[in-house]
């Protein structure tokens, strides 16, 4: 995976932020569901995203496929920008305005004092002139800054216009196979809906393509005329996968596709996704909270904690050398079917307020080893380096 440096990623996420706001005035609440997350996904790989519930992994998936609009940051898909937020630029502008306002006030105070102190009227006039000049310089600088930022904002807004044929290359599989299928539509209608929206009108073609995709996911063509309730959980999830596959996507976001399924059915669905990836060469972003499944299925894994990506590495590397304390605590919580090991297993509890001291040295995502990123500040990086050696 080392030669990935030069390769163009199929999906690139840069400083993505998504905030949810609720209430106003005193009760205003901003939830930072994703707070500055960056990663790349390369062609043909499975990128796993783990974390506890509420850490923002599902929000990340949904923002990428544009079910949500990003607050800030950019998303590139196959080299083209598909989503961007401009909260940061807006903030820049308002900050600049504030800065200039304060500076002008200070200048005014300073000069007013000097003016009232100076005896001659001439001096006063020249001082006033000087003040006016200085202020105008500041204002100009401000306007220039705002203009630049506004230009960027409008540019971001412009490129974010929907590029439908491109977006069709990205599809999503949802968690709950019961809730995500319309109970009043037959399987054929469910699967063909995407095709019809894509502009396929030839009924014959639709039927052949639906039948083909049903076969791919291990269902029979005669299932097409049935309704979702006639299927078992695993089969329903297959329908969900077929619906995503029918428009020939390059990239699939699978949001906990097996969490709602029974153990024996889970294996069927995981095997199916594995086959698809080897046969069709699809790229998958796999969101899950089950570590054993994600380890088995993914090439690279990102660990999320409260809107931040705390660690990112290849699956083997992550499980062999977990560095971030949260990753360690997550790994120590995995139960295994091994009673003797379980009796000795000690769970590490992650207490961010005890482990980290980020007051004057804020953390950043640092590549500590080739392909192994971890969020840490300078001191922690040193200690992690020691562990790795």
């Amino acid at each position: 995976m080392n030669n990935r440096e030069n390769e163009m990623p199929i999906l690139e996420v840069k400083n993505l932020k998504k905030y949810f706001k609720s209430g106003r005035g005193k009760t205003k609440l901003v939830v930072k569901a994703i707070d500055d997350v960056s990663f790349n996904i390369y062609k043909g790989e499975v990128f796993g995203l783990v974390g506890e519930s509420g850490c923002g992994k599902t929000t990340t998936g949904r923002t990428i496929i544009k079910l949500y609009d990003p607050t800030d940051g950019e998303i590139f898909f196959m080299g083209q920008r598909i989503g961007a937020g401009h909260q940061g630029l807006n903030d820049n502008i308002s900050e600049k305005r504030k800065e200039v306002r304060v500076a002008v006030q200070q200048l005014k105070m300073e000069y007013n004092a000097r003016i009232s102190a100076s005896p001659s009227a001439e001096d006063q006039a020249s001082l006033k002139k000087e003040l006016a000049e200085k202020i105008s310089v500041l204002q100009k600088e401000k306007q220039e800054f705002i203009r630049k930022n506004k230009l960027q904002i409008s540019e971001r807004k412009r490129t974010v216009d929907q590029d439908t044929p491109l977006m069709r290359k990205m599809q999503m599989i949802f968690q709950d196979p019961i809730a995500s299928l319309d109970p009043r539509m037959t399987v054929k209608e469910i699967i063909a809906e995407g095709l019809r929206i894509a502009g396929v009108k030839n009924e014959k073609e639709i039927i052949t393509r639906v039948n083909k995709v049903l076969e791919t996911v291990g269902l029979l063509p005669e299932h097409a005329s049935r309704y979702p309730h006639e299927f078992s959980g695993g089969q329903r999830q297959r329908i969900g996968i077929a619906r995503a596959l029918v428009v020939n996507p390059e990239f699939i976001i699978a949001d906990e596709p097996v969490s709602a399924l029974d153990v024996s059915i889970q294996a069927q669905v995981i095997n199916l996704l594995n086959d698809l990836r080897h046969d069709i060469g699809i790229t998958i972003m796999f969101i899950a909270h089950d570590l054993s499944v994600i380890k088995y299925f993914s090439d690279r894994i990102g660990v999320m904690y409260y809107g931040n990506l705390v660690e990112l590495a290849t699956a083997d590397e992550l499980f062999l050398n977990p560095l971030h304390p949260y990753t360690r605590s997550l790994l120590s919580a995995v139960p295994l079917p091994d009673p003797r090991y379980e009796k000795t297993r000690k769970r590490i509890v992650y207490k961010p307020w005890e482990v980290h001291n980020y007051e004057n040295n804020p953390p950043r995502l640092h590549e500590i080893k080739e392909g192994h990123f971890v969020q840490a500040n300078d001191e922690e990086i040193e200690s992690y380096m020691k562990i790795l050696k």
Partner: protein
């Protein structure tokens, strides 16, 4: 600590069906297991295997269309299948507690947490009634014993009626005589019980009145003395004491609730007491549910997939909590789950269920290190563990439709090791060791020797190797 723990619950041949418009759904088809004091029994199986239904039958909360066709649930000498709804109240919650899967839907969203925890204590808080019950317990036990006797006789009678051989008529008449005798005895015992209750009632109320008089006198004495200010507090305390003699007061319930909330690990219980469920996270909600179950200090705790809706770290916390409570309170736990990984840490013994039957039963080491039933193998192989790389061996097909339970082994259809006999006759439980048994024809002496799949063998070997070096295992 005795070597052989006391058996508290014994389930024998439990059979449960549900009446539906399509016919009878045979959810549980003859399940036998024991629960011992201070031990955990894990019931593992997929959805629809009947694991939840069995536990609900024990709690007496089967859905309205559910019927217990056959079998016994013996709790402390009492057959729970024969207990009527009115008397079930004394057991349900008080002796057998239950935790449900989804903590959001088992809590009332518009009721404060504190009220939900104390509700049961306050409703069952009549101490005088409790005392009456205690005093008349002896005669009640005699009565229930007699009733059980009668039951046994009646069952014997039906058995004799059904059997073909032997001197049927003579046996029947003998049993009938016994039944008549038993019925007469029951009549007497009932009268005794009634009398005993009446006596107990009188005694308890007399005690209460004397207590009342004593406290009132004290209050009067306090009131008569001149310094009113300091006495008011004392008077209030005395009054509270008197009420507490009669019933559980709100103050008392509050104190107890705070204590239990601390015990289940809820920080700042005083503040949390007045909050609503939506203000709690998933793990905290599950702790509340556990706290509610614990208020009545039950002997048996049934946990119906308590961690399925939670993620890994929270799951580990809740499992640890249940384990700690079990040790502290010497609880017996019935732990229901579909995830074999979860129970390795919890269970003393494990029952694997499939299509309404227990297919394998043993201690947790026996099940994990020496599984014998193909379904257990399949369950173990279908989940990836942290080291697996090969293709997963999914179980093909789906569980059978229990409207039409299969004639032979229910797992035969999905079983690659199935033999001809599996489709014709149900396998009995073959004993492997004193505690370990499995229902598969593969264990029959005439069956071909079949090894367990290589994946499991490798995994078990690996597990046994790593655990001998615990430090290495921790690093992995």
């Amino acid at each position: 600590m005795a070597n052989t723990p006391e058996k508290i619950l014994h389930v024998q041949d439990l059979t449960v069906s549900f009446k539906t418009t399509q016919g009878m759904v045979r959810a549980v088809r003859g399940v036998t297991f024991d629960v011992f004091k201070g031990k955990t029994l894990a019931i593992v199986g997929e959805s629809g295997s009947g694991k939840s239904v069995s536990s609900r039958a024990i709690m007496g909360i089967l859905a309205g269309n559910g019927v217990i066709d056959d079998g016994q649930i013996i709790y402390r000498g009492q057959d729970l299948t024969k207990v009527d709804e009115e008397h079930y109240h004394e057991l349900r919650g008080n002796k057998i507690g239950m935790i449900f899967q989804d903590p959001m839907s088992s809590l009332n969203p518009i009721m404060r947490i504190g009220k939900q925890i104390t509700e049961g204590m306050l409703l069952n808080g009549n101490r005088l009634k409790e005392r009456i019950k205690q005093k008349s317990a002896d005669s009640k036990n005699i009565l229930s014993e007699k009733l059980n006797n009668l039951d046994e006789l009646q069952r014997k009678a039906t058995k004799v009626k059904k059997s073909d051989f032997g001197n049927k008529a003579a046996e029947l008449t003998e049993i009938k005589l016994d039944i008549l005798k038993a019925k007469k005895e029951i009549k007497l015992a009932k009268a005794d019980y009634k009398k005993a209750t009446a006596v107990a009632k009188k005694e308890v109320y007399m005690d209460y009145r004397t207590e009342q008089a004593r406290v009132n006198d004290q209050i009067k004495a306090l009131k008569d003395t001149s310094n009113q200010g300091s006495n008011n507090a004392k008077i209030a305390e005395l009054k509270e004491q008197l009420i507490r003699y009669k019933k559980v007061t709100k103050q008392e319930a509050y104190e107890r609730a705070i204590k239990i909330m601390k015990e289940v690990g809820i920080p700042e219980p005083e503040r949390r007491f007045t909050q609503y469920p939506f203000q709690f996270s998933g793990g905290m909600r599950q702790r509340i549910v556990i706290a509610i179950a614990l208020t009545a200090s039950p002997e048996i705790l049934i946990c119906d997939e308590p961690t399925t809706a939670l993620d890994v770290t929270i799951q580990a916390q809740i499992l640890e909590l249940i384990n700690d409570l079990k040790k502290e309170r010497n609880l017996s736990v019935i732990f229901i789950t579909h995830d074999l990984g979860v129970v390795a840490n919890m269970a003393d013994s494990i029952a694997v269920m499939y299509a309404g039957k227990i297919v394998e039963m043993g201690t947790s080491e026996e099940i994990f290190y020496n599984p014998r039933h193909p379904y257990t193998w399949a369950l173990l192989t279908s989940m990836p563990d942290l080291d697996s790389k090969d293709r997963l061996r999914a179980i093909p097909g789906t569980p059978p439709n229990m409207l039409f339970p299969p004639i032979g082994d229910a797992f035969a259809e999905r079983n690659e090791y199935a033999m001809k006999i599996d489709f014709e006759r149900q396998p009995p439980m073959f004993k492997i060791s004193e505690t370990h048994s499995a229902a598969t024809w593969l264990l029959h002496p005439d069956a071909p020797k079949v090894e367990m799949p290589k994946i499991i063998r490798d995994r078990i070997e690996r597990m046994l190797n790593t655990t001998s070096k615990p430090e290495e295992a921790a690093n992995e």
